[in-house]
Amino acid sequence: MTEMADFTEEMTDGGWVIRFSGRLTLARIGNLHKRLDALEGPPSVIDMAAVERVDTVGAWIVHRLEHDHGATIINASDDAKRLIALVTRSDRQVQMRPEPINPILRVLDEIGEAVTEAGRTLLGLLSFFGSILVAVGSTIRHPSRFRVQAVIQRLDLVGIRALGIVGLMSFLIGIVIAQQGAVQLAQFGAESLTVNLIGRITTRELGVLMTAIMVAGRSGSAFAAQLGTMKLTEEIDAMRTIGVSPIEALVLPRLLAAVFMMPLLGFFSTLISIIGGGLFCWLSLDMPPVIYVRRLQEVIPLTDVWVGLVKAPVFGLIIAMTGCYQGMQVKGNAEEVGLKTTAAVVQAIFLVIVLDAFFAVFFTKIGWT
């Protein structure tokens, strides 16, 4: 075991002498730094004769001592001299931490930042919607620019490949609604009304809403991440310089796919939820499937189906738009892609739920109850 860095102090005619010994290296420095703060007297000579090895940290400590007390260094090896010269050259006032900010100001700053950010996002979405409309217009004028292949590919990714997970989710939700509903309704002896509950809530609300949440998590996030990565690798800039509009080439196919697939997925989801609920009714409430279907026909008005289906494409539009918009906002580094993807999903789900509330009031007002 090599010796720890150490020192002794001695009063001589020429003032205090500090004699270092051992290895003045990072690994052996221990608490030398602190002990040097509690010297008995200001050293005027630093003797390095007994020092075995020095690295820049040791040299730094010697340099500080020399600098602070105006001491002279004696018996330093060539290595030590070289390193001390190096750290002396490197001794400049370096700022270590960002300037501390008053906490009250910081809170105010953050609130202000959040408000302007929210406003900017809404404005940005609006202008993004505008540029999408322009792109739609120019695609209608030049139908040859329409990218059929890209749209088909997106339809597959957004729609077909989501069938499994949307189906499974809907099936389970159907069972849960039926089970919870049956327990509550049994208290009034109205278990048979479970059918009304399942039928109406899934067609009007849950089918489309749950699908929208799933699509936002699955495809909205993917849109943001894909476009964000393309933005980072400058693919989108490359497109622009070649003369291809990224809105037409990238955003429109995704948008169309989401708008077109949402009603289909929503309807599929509704259907599977009803099947799930029906299975529960059959197994737990002894209601045969034939009766279940006949009751459904009686209790679900056709307007309920419309209520669900009218909302779906709007939700699809919102999801695709926030996903693509956030993706296009990525700049700088890879961390941004993650942040914007999260923002895309959160905003999409939030906007979908807000709009759903508006739709609920609207449909009630026009009498589709």
Partner: protein, 267 residues
């Protein structure tokens, strides 16, 4: 057993690296001498970075032996061989700074990891002189990596690589993406730090100017092996077609001319 006085700092013997069916290295032998700057060159895809990763233990080779200061690096997990690991610093190609930490905090990460007892004042002082030593402006300390230019990122990466006062420094294309003035300044910095700190440097580069300016020896990777290793005149004497083309191509000639001109000016 670690032997820091070993005249051969890194010993690579018969290293084989494969990715699936693709062979990158097939029996690579290489010695890095203590206290030298060894440049490693080779065409794209000849596995320069893979060799670096094999040496520092980020990739276990399929076969062969790698020792650093006499200590074998084969079969060591990432958290093993700490004694060796704190004796080297690595500058990755893009700097690989931790993006959520400031430059000063980045430099302090290895210090905190290996020496948790150091007090904050000393940590700050160490980070401060390392910042200046790596040629960064003093106001770079509290900045985040995203606020730095490419050249400054490399310098910050170098400062972090030097945090523990290593004996070995690995540089992966340190001058790639820098303008000629910045690249030259970085070369000079590497050279002067190597001299003052007595470092052994393993340097991967494409930059002919760097090879001429600061490398003591150059190793050439081609055909899955190190086909030659020595000073540039020694390499040229081998007459290998790739080496000929590399050093005598238009860029190679330009670099040679610069070196000759500088020598004449100096003389």
């Amino acid at each position: 057993m670690i032997n820091l006085e070993d005249p051969i700092a890194i010993r690579v013997r018969g290293v084989v690296n494969r990715f699936g069916s693709q062979t990158v290295h097939d029996g690579v032998d290489l010695d890095v001498r203590n206290g030298e700057i060894l440049g490693v060159v080779g065409g794209s895809g000849t596995g320069k970075s893979v060799l670096l990763r094999s040496i520092i233990g980020l990739k276990q080779p399929e076969a062969g032996e790698v020792t650093v200061f006499g200590e074998s690096m084969i079969g060591k997990e990432e958290d093993e061989a700490q004694d060796i690991r704190r004796r080297w610093g690595v500058l990755f190609q893009g700097g690989a700074l931790f993006s959520t930490l400031t430059v000063a905090e980045n430099i302090q990460v290895p210090l905190r990891e290996y020496y948790p007892d150091l007090d904050q004042t000393l940590l700050d002082e160490i980070a401060a002189y390392k910042v200046v030593m790596a040629g960064l402006p003093p106001e770079a300390g509290p900045k985040y990596p995203s606020e730095l230019s490419g050249g400054m990122k490399k310098r910050a990466g170098l400062a972090r690589a030097l945090a523990l006062d290593p004996m070995l420094l690995f540089l992966d294309e340190p001058t790639a993406g820098l303008d000629p003035i910045g690249a030259d300044a970085f070369d000079q910095l590497t050279k002067s730090l190597q001299k003052t700190l007595g470092l052994t440097v393993f340097l991967i580069t494409h930059d002919l100017d760097t090879l001429y300016a600061i490398c003591d020896r150059v190793a050439v990777l081609a055909d899955h092996q190190v086909i030659a290793c020595g000073t540039i005149p020694e390499l040229l004497a081998t007459g290998h077609p790739w080496i000929e083309e590399y050093f005598n191509g238009p860029r190679g000639r330009a670099a040679t001319a610069t070196v000759d001109r500088n020598r004449q000016l100096g003389a």
